[in-house]
């Protein structure tokens, strides 16, 4: 009897210690998270993720992924006006299709969109990634992964995109940002964002400027570059995975190429680019809309061309409005394919 009581007491002590340990770890994790949030260099990529996680269920009926072309082109207010649907642009600088795939995979844990749009320039063979020639550590790549919540998708994304010796680097942002305790401005800016700014955050980052006369002249003088456009193997592989993921989740998937500056398009071997994307999309039965073929329909006339772009790749705010309207009409309007 005494022995049983003693054993019972021992069990209670162990349970108490276990609970205390658990609580200690939880508090530690909360502190860790708070430290990372406050010390992380404030950038739009991480904030785009925080903005996404702050959405209510069903607030991202249209999800757009891709590179800067995506967040400079798709205006959620225009999408809402033309289709009545809410949208979110989960795009980031130089985001390629590998990252776009993981972004969609992560997003589907939280939202069930009615359409997913991949901006096609993310199929460009940019080499900010493990597969390229540039170093494995690149702030654009790491910021996109840092923004993602910890989970299997994040682990998978890290394993896919980093060499194994950099996995801990990718998974522990505190190791990269802890010395920002000296940077009061970053801490203040982050604090402001998490307390007040998160709900007002817009995933659409339009350019407010127009292309300068000098830039226009510069493109006008550029020579034709016949180099064949390349879609890397990882991008192709992840494009197929993305298409399959959307199919398995029952979400319509579209590929849209945002318009680039006409003179620039004519100076490169654009046919080799768009044809390859078209073939790739066709292989998965995905609708591909190349806006560069619809300048007139969009309204990118010769007279106002310079007003619609801020550079050879990116639209400005007024260009974005026209293009978003056009794309939504093509996908959902009377001109629906």
């Amino acid at each position: 009897m005494i022995e049983e009581r003693h054993l019972g007491k021992q069990k209670r002590v162990k349970l108490k210690r276990f609970m205390k340990g658990l609580f200690f770890c939880l508090l530690f994790l909360a502190g860790w998270k708070a430290a990372v949030l406050l010390l992380y260099p404030s950038n739009e990529i991480v904030r785009t993720w925080h903005g996404f996680y702050a959405l209510e269920k069903g607030e991202a009926q249209v999800l757009v992924v891709g590179s800067s072309h995506a967040y400079a082109t798709f205006d959620p207010s225009v999408i809402a006006r033309t289709t009545g649907m809410s949208s979110y642009i989960l795009a980031s600088n130089s985001q390629n299709t590998v990252q776009a795939y993981f972004n969609v995979k992560e997003a589907l844990h939280y939202q069930h969109p009615e359409a997913i749009i991949l901006e096609a320039f993310s199929l460009d063979d940019n080499n900010n990634w493990r597969y390229g020639d540039t170093p494995d550590r690149n702030w654009k790549k790491e910021a996109n992964i840092d923004g993602m919540r910890f989970g299997m998708t994040k682990l998978e994304a890290v394993m896919e995109q980093y060499e194994s010796y950099n996995w801990s680097y990718a998974l522990l942002p505190i190791a990269r940002c802890h010395s920002n305790w000296e940077d009061i401005v970053t801490i203040g800016s982050n604090l402001e964002f998490y307390t007040e700014g998160i709900k007002e955050f817009s995933s659409f980052h339009p350019s407010k400027t127009s292309m300068s006369e000098d830039t226009v002249q510069q493109y006008a003088q550029s020579e034709y570059n016949p180099t064949e456009w390349v879609i890397s193997e990882p991008n192709i592989r992840h494009f197929h995975k993305l298409a399959q993921l959307c199919r398995s989740e029952g979400v319509p998937f579209y590929v849209v190429m945002a318009p680039m500056y006409d003179v620039y398009i004519r100076s490169i071997n654009y046919a080799s680019c768009t044809d390859k994307i078209a073939d790739l999309a066709e292989s998965e039965g995905v609708y591909y809309l190349d806006c560069n073929r619809y300048y007139d329909e969009i309204g990118l006339t010769a007279q106002d061309f310079e007003d619609a772009f801020n550079g050879y790749h990116h639209l400005n705010e007024s260009g974005a409005e026209k293009v978003t309207q056009f794309v939504m009409e093509m996908l959902y309007g009377e001109g629906k394919r």
Partner: protein
């Protein structure tokens, strides 16, 4: 595998978890495997060296023990031969890897000076980490067996663990067999308090290393890297801070080692006892790197005759011991000078002892008061710190040039100019980081002072309310995480004593 690496932060919990889950009889085998993995993570080839050292000393110790049981002359002679052979083998390996380049260079320079042309063979070898530590630990064991102080260990694998036990393998404490060997036989059950204490000690070690030592290193490395760009006062500041850097670096490592061993139920030797509160140089050496100092005392100084002989021989023994100790720290004349300086301080202290006592009496100086001890402490610190300059400099030549440069470019007024902030901006550390470092040093000295006064931190903390205890734990953890100097861009995070 560095203690301050992600690799170790994954390795250690796995080792501990499995260690407490497996049966007692195989625990030492698990620790042996973990220790070899730990060592081989630097370079798998190094394992061969430690294995040779282990086999040689283990086998020799068995033979010495067997010979010791037979009092006949032949056995005693054989015993001496085996001892000498084993010492030669181990010191030979140590010499080849650590001192060959230095010896060849010195011989070459000497011959050049004498006008003799000589071509020494060149070997491109990397110094295996911790070789001085485990060689000395193995030799200590051999001497103890030879003296009959401990029996020879028959279980080879258990002995291999004694030599390679990972917490203290690469930078000590250099354990005595009578302290560690028996612990390898004892059962170590999971003890919550012990684990907690061990982790707390590890945390304190990380704090010393990452927050203080590595922050000071930024400043010290900059100044010592190009001393001609800095004034004498700035060099003095860097040298003063180096005293704390090396202390925090090495004491930090030792605390992590002792803490890690404690988590697994082992008690290792305490390596530091508030050394910068010592009031004499000999007192400093009684509280600095204790495991090495006692090793030299027991196996070098006392066998040479110690202090139980004439004054002249005593001083010779002291200087010789410290010169060897200097050489143990590094293959360079600057290390020899550093060791000799520390020996000379003690010789000078002993020689002037009676004169100082007479002066104190005549001048009515009270020696039993705080102010006197404070002056003694400051003088001791300055003497020790001056010697550190030779330790830290690239070579003896550089150390002397630095001294010369400092005297001729003292820069006293510009150093204290109100708008100059001691020239911090020019020596690679931001103002905020500098003041954080000062805060860290204040905490360190406060802890050391309280330890010196006999405060038992573990017991004192255990008496506090849970919210206070947790506050201390979190402050320590987040202090390291946020204020520590580490990360992907940070290099040279290795511990200073690894190179010895």
């Amino acid at each position: 595998m560095l203690f301050n690496s992600v690799h170790f932060l994954v390795f250690f919990p796995i080792v501990v978890l499995i260690y407490y889950l497996i049966p007692q009889r195989v625990k030492y085998l698990w620790l042996l495997a973990a220790s070899y993995y730990f060592y081989m993570s630097w370079n798998p080839g190094y394992a061969l060296l430690i294995l040779v050292c282990t086999v040689a000393t283990w086998g020799s110790a068995l033979i010495l023990a067997a010979c010791g049981q037979r009092p006949d002359k032949k056995s005693q002679k054989r015993k001496r031969w085996f001892l000498a052979g084993c010492i030669l083998l181990n010191l030979g390996i140590l010499f080849f890897f650590k001192y060959y380049v230095f010896a060849a260079d010195s011989i070459g320079k000497l011959c050049g000076f004498l006008g003799i042309s000589i071509q020494m063979p060149v070997f491109d070898v990397l110094l295996p980490v911790g070789i001085s530590f485990y060689t000395f630990q193995a030799l200590g064991y051999l001497f103890d067996v030879h003296r009959g102080e401990i029996p020879a260990e028959r279980n080879f694998l258990r002995y291999a663990l004694f030599i390679s036990f990972f917490p203290q393998l690469v930078a000590g404490p250099i354990e005595r067999s009578r302290n560690l060997m028996h612990q390898l036989y004892e059962p170590h059950k999971f003890d919550f308090r012990r684990v907690k204490d061990g982790l707390l000690l590890m945390g304190w070690g990380f704090f010393q290393k990452l927050v203080i030592a590595d922050r000071i290193a930024v400043l010290v490395d900059t100044v010592y890297g190009d001393y001609t760009c800095y004034s004498g006062m700035q060099i003095a500041l860097a040298t003063l801070l180096f005293a704390f850097q090396i202390y925090c670096d090495f004491a930090g490592y030792s605390d992590i080692a002792v803490g890690a061993a404690r988590v697994m139920g082992f008690t290792l030797t305490k390596n530091f006892k508030s050394p910068y509160f010592a009031t004499t140089v000999s007192g400093f050496w009684r509280s600095w790197h204790i495991s090495l100092t006692t090793w030299f005392r027991d196996y070098v100084y006392i066998p040479l005759g110690g202090n139980r002989c004439g004054k002249g021989r005593k001083y010779r023994n002291l200087l010789l011991t410290f010169a060897v100790s200097g050489l143990w720290h590094g293959a360079g004349w600057n290390f020899v000078v550093w060791g000799m300086l520390n020996g000379l301080y003690q010789v000078a202290g002993d020689l002037t002892g009676s004169l100082r006592a007479r002066l104190q009496e005549k001048l009515h100086i009270h020696t039993d008061c705080g102010s006197y001890r404070l002056v003694q402490g400051v003088v001791t610190f300055l003497l020790v710190d001056f010697a550190w300059l030779f330790f830290r400099a690239e070579s003896l030549e550089t150390a002397l040039q630095m001294l010369w440069h400092s005297i001729y470019n003292i820069g006293l007024f510009s150093f204290f100019a109100p708008d100059n902030m001691l020239g911090i901006q020019t020596i690679a550390l931001s103002e905020k980081s500098f003041f954080l470092m000062l805060l860290g040093l204040v905490i360190l000295m406060l802890v050391d002072y309280l330890k010196k006064r006999g405060t038992d931190f573990k017991a004192a903390l255990a008496r506090q309310n849970i919210w206070f205890r947790w506050l201390v734990y979190y402050m320590l953890i987040f202090g390291i995480l946020i204020f520590g100097v580490y990360g992907p861009e940070y290099d040279a995070s290795t511990f200073i004593y690894f190179q010895f």
